[in-house]
Amino acid sequence: MTQVNAPDAGPVDYQEVQAREDFQELRRTHRSFVFPMTAFFLIWYIAFVIVAAFFPDVMAIPVWGNINLGLVLGLAQFVTTFVITGLYVWFSNSKMDPKSSAIRIELEARGAGLPEEDKH
């Protein structure tokens, strides 16, 4: 249990980079989008499943013709999935990629590469 991998002898001190403001900012940006979004869709999905399982009468409320609330809410799950996907792509391209590639380019210029164990 005492075996802890030796500190990386590579050209980059990752702990120092981790503590830097630009990396902290990148990490914060990422988490402040993906965590709330995940919480939102999980709660929305689980609420939908609970209503379907325990309150089927709610789902049977007619909306238009033979189309009932259950079908509308079910299709709304598809719609939110597509919308969240679109939002995430927009978020990644505009908010994440510029920040992450700046750090990546800098570190790779300093010679950061694959971890030691992966070099066969």
Binding site: T2, V4, Y14, Y45, M59, N66, S92, S100, R104, H120
Partner: protein, 552 residues
């Protein structure tokens, strides 16, 4: 769930071909059409596999297709991997018979991809090289974590593989009219050998091409059928629903409850299944390994976006096709056909487009099994050869060629096991295995993936407790569930030892695995290396070094 894919394996081969429609599925020369169209598929895919084999030499080629696929190609392959026969035949059949409850099932399958998109795909691509274990063992103690991750990978692959191979037997009965046990076993052996050949020579590149072709055919075929069905009802979906209710005489077809609404336990069972689907998908090893076939995290992102678009469209098609089958076919006919409710989609194809469309859909269904089985086999072989053999047994002192050799040997072993398992599982009710695979992935894999990516204080002990606890509790709960004991469909219908009332373990095993990971980490006496944690976090978010991974 039990009703999805091969719920009626037990019926297949026993039910006499009583009805005209059922005969249509097996007589009237259409088995010949089915086989010929399937042979065309085999011919085309063989061409791609052999072409792919010509530039497959290194481990990165063999496991990850040289990381040469584009996001769109990989996304299509993911859809091909994911839309198994359970999705296609199972969901159309479930909607045709149980209406809304079948649709509910497809929603979980789609929503699940948001976990992959938001939390898993890019970070895994940036951090790992070939397998899930690469990521999980990155900053923890290599050996024990790698072994645990490999065990859970192999378990998920095995369950999924067995279900697919047994499903192949049922499909044969349905589509080719082969009813004898020996005939079905022979077909399982042929499908299995073909798959071994594909994966052996084509590696990940060959497998990916098989999946791309299959996904294209499946989605195109169901799109044509969807437009066809809608056209019959003047593109008025409400009218189609009305016709489905009129034809089946089942008022409740449009509401939840026909399948899962019986009592509290069936409702909880459905919730458990829904949660296992949503949390398990992004942790399925054969899905995770696909993220390594693209050059960058950005391509991994695009892969998931394309996959979500294709999978979402496909499940919308199944909604139309399921209600279309309910509107156009006789429920009795569907249930009496060999394959039971799984025959709804092929029978609908015959109703619409006669022998040719049935042949096409039948061939696609076969291709589906072949492609999914190939994807699982390459995943299992990568996990064994890379994680167990190269990293643990050989301690990383093995060259790329040696690893490929080990992977190819594993393919043969896994393939033979799959064939034997598939033959042995014939006539058994193995439908629960697909749900179990998702539940194990959600319990044993997902907590450790998320903790190691997002929680600094996560430790080796947390990972081991979570993985073994998740896997063990899922298996234990299933062992004492109605799947095994006390129901007509159980292995031991006469004895009731079902201490756990549900057929899906996820409701208990998933929270338990998260809890174990947390407690295990908090009680750890040994801290993990903070430098490794920093490195992993920076790599996962920026992709430092990841793009060079293809170089060797």
């Amino acid at each position: 769930m039990n009703s999805l894919i091969n719920a009626s394996i037990t019926d297949a081969g026993l039910t006499p071909l009583a009805t005209a429609a059922a005969e249509a599925g097996s007589d009237v020369g259409s088995p010949l059409a089915n086989i010929s169209i399937f042979l065309v598929f085999v011919g085309v895919t063989l061409f791609f596999v052999i072409r792919a084999s010509k530039n497959t030499s290194t481990a990165a080629d063999y496991y990850a297709g040289g990381r040469s696929f584009s996001g769109t190609q990989n996304g299509t392959a993911i859809a091909g991997d994911y839309l198994s026969a359970a999705s296609f035949l199972g969901i159309v059949g479930a909607i045709a018979i149980y209406g809304y409850d079948g649709f509910l099932y497809s929603i979980g399958f789609l929503v699940a991809w948001l976990i992959a998109l938001l939390l898993v795909a890019e970070l895994m691509r940036n951090t790992g090289k070939f397998t899930m274990a690469d990521v999980l063992s990155f900053r923890l103690r290599q050996q024990p974590v790698r072994i645990a991750a490999a065990i859970s990978t192999l378990a998920v692959c095995l369950f999924y593989l067995l279900a697919q191979m047994a499903g192949a037997g049922a499909l044969v009965a349905l589509l080719l009219g082969i009813e004898s046990g020996i005939g079905q076993s022979l077909i399982i052996a042929v499908v299995g050998s073909l798959m071994i050949f594909y994966v052996f020579i084509g590696g990940m590149k060959g497998t990916t091409w098989v999946q791309i072709i299959k996904a294209t055919l499946l989605i195109a075929g169901s799109a044509v059928m969807t437009v066809w069905v809608l056209a019959l009802y003047g593109f008025n979906f409400s009218e189609l629903l009305g016709a489905a209710v009129d034809n089946t005489g089942e008022e409740a077809l449009l509401e939840p409850g026909l399948q899962y609404g019986a009592d509290l336990f069936t409702k909880l069972d459905f919730m458990s299944l829904g949660i296992a689907l949503v949390l398990g998908t992004a942790a399925l090893p054969h899905v995770l390994i696909r993220f390594y076939t693209v050059p960058t995290a950005k391509d991994a992102r695009k892969s998931v976006v394309v996959a979500i678009a294709l999978i979402g469209a496909f499940y919308l098609f199944t909604l139309v096709l399921g209600y279309g089958a309910a509107a156009l076919l006789d429920t009795e006919t569907i249930l009496a056909a060999p394959g039971g409710q799984n025959s709804a989609a092929p029978l609908l194809a015959y109703e619409l487009g006669g022998t040719f469309l049935l042949g096409f859909i039948a061939a696609v269904a076969f291709a589906t099994i072949l492609a999914v089985v190939a994807g699982l086999t390459i995943t299992a072989s990568a996990s064994f050869a890379h994680d167990v053999y190269a990293q643990v047994i050989k301690k990383g002192k093995i060259d790329s060629a040696g690893e490929v050799k080990a992977a190819k040997m594993t393919v043969i072993v896994v393939g033979i096991l799959a064939i034997l398992g598939g033959i042995g599982a014939q006539g058994q009710n193995v439908a629960f295995l697909v749900a179990l695979a998702f539940a194990v992935a959600a319990s044993a894999n997902l907590p450790t993936i998320l903790f190691s990516l997002f929680w600094k204080r996560f430790t080796t002990r947390g990972a081991l407790w979570s993985m073994y606890g998740g896997l063990g509790s899922a298996l234990l709960l299933i062992a004492f569930s109605p799947v095994v004991w006390g129901r007509d469909t159980s292995f031991f219908p006469e004895i009731d030892l079902a201490l756990y009332p549900l057929t899906n373990p996820g409701l208990i095993s998933i929270p338990l695995a998260f809890l174990l990971g947390w407690i295990g980490s908090l009680t750890s006496k040994v801290a993990e290396d903070p430098a490794k944690q920093a490195e992993m976090e920076i790599r996962s978010l920026t992709g430092v070094g990841a793009e060079k991974a293809a170089d060797h």
